[in-house]
Symmetry: C5
């Protein structure tokens, strides 16, 4: 889910949102293909039994009377799906909020540093911006255990610095220590240093939230129980449904599986938000924010002089 | 949704709220017109088939027996709509809360600045109020990528300043840097400066919340799945409903579509709250708040002297 | 809803809570009278049509078969009512919490001021308590745009001060500026002043929450859609219900309207919490808290000396 | 609900939790006895009417057809119960969290005080611990307007001090003022004093949350509407249920009343959490925490020296 | 529920999650075995009665008409399960968040300490890391009242120190006092000390949250009412279900019991999160984090010099 601009919001709320998107439906079908195949097989089996075996005197196994069991338990399917959806969405939004908090830490700590340091310490401010720009890639590489995020650091860090960080067990904590060390080298007094440290701590707390979410899944007992419950529900549904919908049972089961397992599947996807959020664009955006504040600092200075 | 005064609250809770508002209903109908047309077409087709084709020996496709499928799945429609509604409303209220936090930053930072600066620095306080008054228009212009909000700055900023800001990639951050620079020019000690910076940081965090909400839609998988599910549900409903309501199926489907898609549609509208909240009145209100605190400062001084 | 004491809690949880309270039921009936009259009229019309017109060969419009439509949509009524109720209650409790925060600001800021100022500045502490006691009435008068709250200031402010405040566009902000000015006149150091300012800022933030809640209704689209949906639901219900309950349809519809619209009506009432919370008792309580802390200060001093 | 230890948790999750507990069921029955008696009377009356009067030609009042009305409205009963339960639980947990915050204030403020004061001010630290130990009993006595909590102060306060506090209108605020005064007598600098004051303010805020919860019930309109709705629902249910369950209607109604009113009744009980939480054990626990930190301070000192 | 790595997330969202896991199902069955046995016994009894006794003229006790009672009350089962699930999950996640906050306290306090102390006080920093590494085991041992967590301290604390802590009534508070005492021995000024104390206080608050959650179960009235309600519901269900599903009632009841009591059982398990979260891996992780920051400090220093 990438960032939205006004035009995309426009599209997002147009009537086209109601149209089926074959490409996406197909992708979801492919994800669910094994469950779909199983459901279809069961439904075909039930249809065969009801059409040929049962009239021939085999024991009664397909009957509309069984529907009452599904009516009584549909609330339980509902509540498990609701819980799944809400818990997964809350995790996703908490992670997104934590990533957003990083941007505030960048902007607030640099705004204070720029206002408070004398002109003679401009090189420390530039160093700070340089390391701040590499903090988010380091954090993303650490969270996802992937190396592709380091490329965002190529412009701002020396190769030796990158290779040092890549060898660390926890690169973002190291970068935060460097930033903290840079602040300690300025002539700021201890109160001002602590105010900037507070923003670094806020970054660390937001990083901790992302770590927590990406390390700890929702209790698997719930996740599994939900999956299992829906599978049991859908597997036995044809036995009751046949009497009502006859051969239409086959498409009905396919569509129901798509709709119900589709909800469950989305919950599974967004439960681990660091794998679906656009981390590369966060890296790029925060790097730009960090570097531009220093680059355009003279414009702010000019505006202050002119005022 | 503009600000409410007591008279509007009165009206809001009167019995008239139950009356249909043809103008608004029509507008909603227009938004939903394509879906409505589709549903009506399906219903007419089903009616035709059931009236002429099916009695003539065509395969049975319209039957009251199918209703059980819709009864079993109505909970899933319900839960998707609930989730949609709650998530959209939470986004809307979070954005509204963030806009409200801006007002507190204006009032708190100026109150401290006015109390703490000596009379000789009154020109810095006025400068601060002038830039504070243009901070919200800059933030709104940035959030909505629209130029109309800059007109609120016309009274307080020089044309050159406005054109500089309009050229920036992130105007509100620049204004915050100017405000921070102004505070650094006062004779406040480093602790007092930091206390005011904390309010600027709070403004930045609230701005970040608005950016986050306006850049990141709820996971599109849910949004799309909800839209799709309701469309599938309503499209096939006439096949089951015909046996119960005959030709009344047509108006029933139209009304049901209006009611269910209406809920979904409101969710879509408020999912992007910065496009529905009254940003122009926020700009005007915060400008007034910023300028009046400085303008009426002498009254407070008089009250203190008299006490 | 006034403050509860233990005896009222006792009563609140006794079995008497299950008894109908004719006075309150009548009041609710009066509020809903127009909707009730409309529903009753529809039900009588349906009864007439079903009893006389339909058997006489008029087109069939009243049939138990239609009930399926109401069964399918009852979940949507439910979810809209749930959403309405939860959103309104959340607003109400957020406002109540904000009012409660005011009390903490009064107590915390005065506790610090009393501990930190030397005996020679007792007159500033008294001035502070005097203005703090008028802060809440000023805020309530501002929030509700009503003048009756100023009477709580009569004892503590001079008539000239009250008339000045009443003429202000935002009286509580002015009082906060006076309080801030008083703190600046003490001999506290800048850190101590800032600690007290933080409590004033907390007051301002709680005030901002109340402003936000009283200015911004929940999205009217939802409110209206909910009202409309219930009205449509109940209006057409007799057409399906007649076959089941015959002439009992009339009382059933009246009771259903009372129960369902009653829920919606409570949501409407508490959506604007500043008009239902006991603001006068908040004003009185916070005034007492502010003045008593100064009045009983010598007892605390005595306890400290004795320890 | 007292504190749980591991053995109780073990018991809590054993299969015995499914067994009926006659003692508790009886207690709940006694609480609900009047409602139960009423429901049973109605059910008996309905049974009589349906058995003797209706077959004898009296107007039809008992019919299975009426069940549709109860099916349509069961969602509304459900949503009111859900709302009741969630709101009451949220209040209960918020109060519990506030009580827990008190413990942190005790530990944090004393940890800082002990670390920062020189050995020569040990008597002030002991005084602080003594008053801190009496803060929670004072707060509990104030919240519940009961005198039994003062006994926890008997060991630490002099009789004169207790009688002074008991005579105060707001004892915990007085104790906080004493604590604040003690901190002001130490040689800590103004920043350190403010850091400890911040913990006292946190205590005051948690106290304010408890006051708010114990003074302000959930909107009574909801509470009453819920009670009334369930009573109306259950009272008329036998008229529809008789046709299905005949004389079993009597036990069914008794059990249903027990189950549904039982949910509502729990909501009522925990809505006022300060009357159900174990305040006496909080008083004892916080007193021990406060006194032990000072008593064992020398061990910490020894560990530091040895390190 | 142990920490997840990317490979486990992959597995977690694969189609295999839908497959029944016999081992886990068996374990759940064993937990629920007594309830299952009871349900099965009831179902067999009902089947016997309906097959032999009832046709022989015994009073009618098994009838499909009774199903309406279960349809009317299924919403109440649903709402109690939803409440149970949500409340238990919220407790679980709050505890997990508190454990995550500990990590931030370790990293933030050590980052500030390392940046701010001069090289001559390196031994105090090492002491601080040593005690910080034993803080989490001490807290876990205290929370779970188990001794096995002390083994994590074996490397960092002397045997005497461990035995002292094990003898304390509240070991983590003692360790926090030691840490606070170490900070007081550095040459940091009072503001810097307070900034580090704030992180220690944050640790204490997170510890308090864990204590609160592990001491206070959700109101037992709800827990018991939920268990009881489900048992009553399932126990009487066969009386109504027999007419629909005949001898299939037996497996149906077994599966329903498994699914519904399974949900309740998970709620019970995660209600006490400190017993299910991976505390040993938290201990190990936080120890590594604390010690590594000091061990790799020279690398950060080198990076700063090179910059």
């Amino acid at each position: 889910d990438d960032a939205m601009n006004p035009a995309e919001w426009e599209l997002h709320s147009s009537w086209r949102r109601h149209c089926p998107e074959p490409r996406i439906c197909l992708r979801v079908f492919r994800i669910l293909s094994i469950a779909e195949a199983w459901m279809l097989a069961v439904a075909v089996g039930v249809a065969m039994y009801a059409t040929y075996a049962q009239p021939a005197g085999w024991p009664i196994a397909v009957s509309g009377d069984y529907m009452i069991v599904f009516q009584l338990t549909s609330f339980a399917v509902a509540l498990l799906l609701v819980f799944r959806t809400n818990a997964a969405y809350a995790r996703w939004w908490e992670a997104r909020t934590a990533f957003g908090r990083w941007l505030n830490s960048v902007r607030n700590s640099q705004r204070m540093l720029i206002s408070w340091t004398p002109a003679s310490e401009a090189y420390l401010v530039r160093e700070y911006a340089r390391w701040m720009a590499s903090l988010t890639p380091a954090a993303c590489a650490y969270l996802r255990r992937k190396d592709c995020y380091w490329e965002h650091c190529a412009e701002v860090l020396a190769p030796g610095e990158i290779s040092w960080l890549r060898g660390c067990d926890n690169p973002p904590v190291k970068v935060l220590m460097v930033l903290s060390g840079l602040v300690a080298r300025t002539s700021l007094d201890s109160y001002q240093r602590a105010a900037i440290e507070a923003e670094l701590s806020a970054y660390d707390i937001a990083l901790g939230a992302c770590e927590r979410i990406s390390r700890q899944a929702a209790p698997k007992a719930y996740t599994r129980h939900t999956s299992r419950f829906i599978i049991v529900y859908l597997t036995f549904l044809p036995f009751a449904l046949w009497s009502y919908t006859k051969w239409l049972t086959l498409p009905v089961i396919v569509v129901l599986t798509f709709l119900l397992l589709g909800i469950e599947n989305i919950g599974i996807q967004i439960e681990n938000p660091v794998s679906v959020l656009p981390l590369h664009s966060f890296c790029a955006g925060l790097k730009t924010a960090a570097l531009n504040m220093v680059k355009h600092q003279h414009q702010v200075h000019a505006a202050l002089e002119a005022g």
